[in-house]
Amino acid sequence: MNVQRRIVDEEFGPVWIERRQWLRAAIAAIGAGIAATLSGIVGGAVVATPGDRQEEQWLPAGRTGDLATGVPTAVTLRVTRQDGYYDAVERQVVFLVKGTDGDVRALSSTCTHLGCRVSYDAAADVFKCPCHGGQYSADGRVVSGPPPRPLEQMATRVEGARVLVKL
């Protein structure tokens, strides 16, 4: 054990110290290399989650003839969304509103406050949010309550008699 002690205590002369330092550095470098490669691959898989390739879709939402001027009409759209390995089918409600100029606008049913679903109250002619009492006018502007912004509008396009909504 005596020889060993001397090596451990680094009293064995410069040659041995150099060799020991070289070995130490090599061990550390190999260990760090393996750890870095592995955490790079595993970290990439875990942290850099693959975003869902969501492409824009124009979905047929109804016919212009079925819409009354100024009255929001709720339409349920079936949207297929890639959810990882799974094809999720979501039902999204949008409100179609035909303006006096004949233009059709589409309003999202998601409250801009905290994301609850608004519904249209025909008697009061407002959209009401059930969560915190936010209210929007029939064209989507905030009337009262906490919502910070008007209801989101989606792009629309009229092809013949059909209304297409971009999601």
């Binding site: 005596n2 060993q4 070995l23 592995l38 790079g40 990439g44 850099a48 824009e56 799974y86």
Partner: protein
């Protein structure tokens, strides 16, 4: 003197003494590269744990989604292909390293008193590793996995007395299905990792308690500390093995066959290569003798290994004085290698590539205007993803007459597809699902495939797919050249008056016929 954070930690945990004891463990003189196999195994186990933990975030142990989620990992997850490659090839590396470690221990006589328990914990670890391999093989839920597991369970079932009961236990019911998959998944990710961790701790504790056995013949000279000389050997061996594994993962493709189809009786199952030896052994014990090859011989070998410290009780660890043990071990290794080699040689030929001419024709149809009108614009799903949520007859009727399936609000394509085109599209989607990338084909070849896969295939077979009315076209290029074929397709009777094949000269544009002729002439 100021206290550093390390001092603070040491005062509370005493870690310096522990690290010192771990690093400066005295090792007998004569320790060499043979003694790095244990550390390499430990490293490989850690790689499996880490990659497995990441894989399990994306994997779903249910028949409807298991295959899809594995494909998602390889195709879409960042570094997913390499991640799965590390895990799949890592399993092979562990089996090889474990067997090498075992042989080293036997040859060096390191199982002898007082190291019997170290030896046993190592044998238990080997069984755990094999159980990992077996359960992990099922998880991708592809054809290979499904049918190999059917065979495995039937082997278990053939065991005397408890066989049928064990088979039911393994299946979690009377059929191989959803319950089997979740059961094997639970074993793979909960029970086995727990067992492996406990056994590794026990194995290392016992190894430290008795010290390394060292070389079989004691060499004079002082003991040397583990660190840094032997630690360097461990690190270097580990680094090399890891680099080799990484190369396999980066440049190799972890296999994923088509999704498991219990109704497809044509699939020929084959086990993972490290079980091929056992598989081959079965062939020598047909009929009533089968339990001998399936259970008796493997059990006898295992029992001999368990009892080895008592079968070989001599003091000496010198291989030259333990001829019987060394001879037995070497012949065992030789028979395992020979059986595995025979098994590899007898493997059923791989089915022709997943991409037949019909699938290539289907791709041409899909990329054409009719399908792309909806499927490339987000109205229909992306066909190149190869997701099939409906059965084949549904798809066939959908592509033949889309209005049947998507009435009402969605615009139905003005013209559907002919039945043969429909079948080509299905072949294309199925091939996409196989996970195998399409072969590189030129525009000319694609043009030819589009004609062959939707027309010629009615009567002719090519690559095992098609009608039987006309001759097989798979190797027609060895019989005729492009010029002859072009004339023949345009007007067979001009070359041979009694020809039965109709003339296509007026049905197909000359460019198509020439492309088909060139394509077929290249098939030798």
């Amino acid at each position: 003197m100021r206290m550093t954070p390390a001092d603070w930690l040491d005062e509370r945990t005493g870690y310096r003494r522990l690290v010192g004891r771990a690093l400066y463990e005295p090792l007998p003189n004569g320790i060499n590269w043979w003694f790095t196999l244990g550390s390499v195994l430990l490293l490989l186990l850690v790689v499996q744990f880490v990659t497995g933990a990441a894989l399990v975030m994306y994997y779903v142990p249910a028949p409807a989604y298991a295959w899809e989620s594995v494909r998602y990992i390889t195709a879409h997850v960042t570094f997913g292909r390499v991640l799965r490659g590390l895990h799949v090839f890592g399993a092979s590396f562990i089996v090889v390293a474990a067997l090498a470690h075992l042989v080293r221990v036997v040859v060096f006589g390191a199982y002898k008193k007082p190291r019997e328990l170290t030896w046993w914990s190592g044998l238990a670890l080997l069984l755990v590793v094999l159980a990992f391999a077996l359960t992990g093989y099922l998880l991708p839920w592809d054809q290979r996995a499904y049918w190999a597991t059917v065979v495995t369970i039937n082997i278990a079932k053939s065991a005397p007395v408890a066989g049928p009961w064990v088979a039911d236990l393994l299946r979690g019911g009377t059929h191989l299905g959803a319950l089997t998959l979740s059961r094997w998944f639970a074993i793979h990710v909960v029970a086995l990792p727990a067992a492996a961790s406990a056994l590794v701790v026990a194995h290392l504790f016992l190894m430290r308690r008795h010290g390394i056995a060292g070389p079989p013949r004691r060499r004079p000279g002082a003991a040397r500390a583990f660190y840094p000389d032997h630690a360097f050997r461990d690190a270097a061996a580990g680094g090399l093995v890891f680099a080799a594994l990484l190369a396999c993962a980066v440049f190799g493709r972890p296999p994923l066959a088509a999704m498991a189809d219990p109704s497809d009786a044509t699939y020929v199952p084959r086990p993972e290569w490290y079980f091929l030896g056992l598989f081959q052994l079965l062939k020598y014990f047909p009929g009533r003798l089968e339990p001998v090859g399936a259970h008796l011989l493997p059990a006898a070998v295992l029992l001999a290994l368990v009892l080895l410290p008592w079968l070989d009780r001599s003091e000496s660890r010198d291989p030259r004085r333990r001829r019987i043990v060394i001879g037995g071990t070497l012949s065992l290794v030789a028979s395992v290698v020979a059986l595995t080699a025979l098994g590899v040689r007898n493997l059923p030929a791989d089915a022709a590539g997943a991409w037949g001419t019909r699938a290539l024709a289907g791709r041409a149809v899909v990329n054409g205007d009719r399908c792309a009108r909806c499927h490339a614009r987000g109205v229909g799903s992306d066909l190149s993803r190869g997701r099939m949520t409906r059965d084949v007859s549904w798809i066939e009727s959908h592509v033949s007459d889309p209005d049947v399936i998507a009435p009402g609000i969605r615009p139905a394509p003005a013209d559907g597809l002919k039945p043969l085109e429909a079948r080509a599209v299905i072949a294309y989607v199925t091939s996409t699902r196989s996970g195998e990338p399409p072969p590189p084909v030129s525009a000319d070849q694609e043009r030819a495939a589009a004609v062959i896969g939707t027309r010629c295939i009615t009567c002719h077979t090519i690559d095992g797919d098609g009608g039987r009315l006309g001759p097989d076209l798979s190797h027609v290029g060895s019989r005729h050249d492009a010029g002859w074929l072009e004339k023949w397709i345009a007007d067979p009777e001009a070359l041979k008056p009694e020809a039965e094949m109709p003339a296509f000269g007026r049905q197909l544009p000359p460019g198509d016929i020439a492309a088909v002729a060139r394509f077929l002439a290249s098939r030798r």
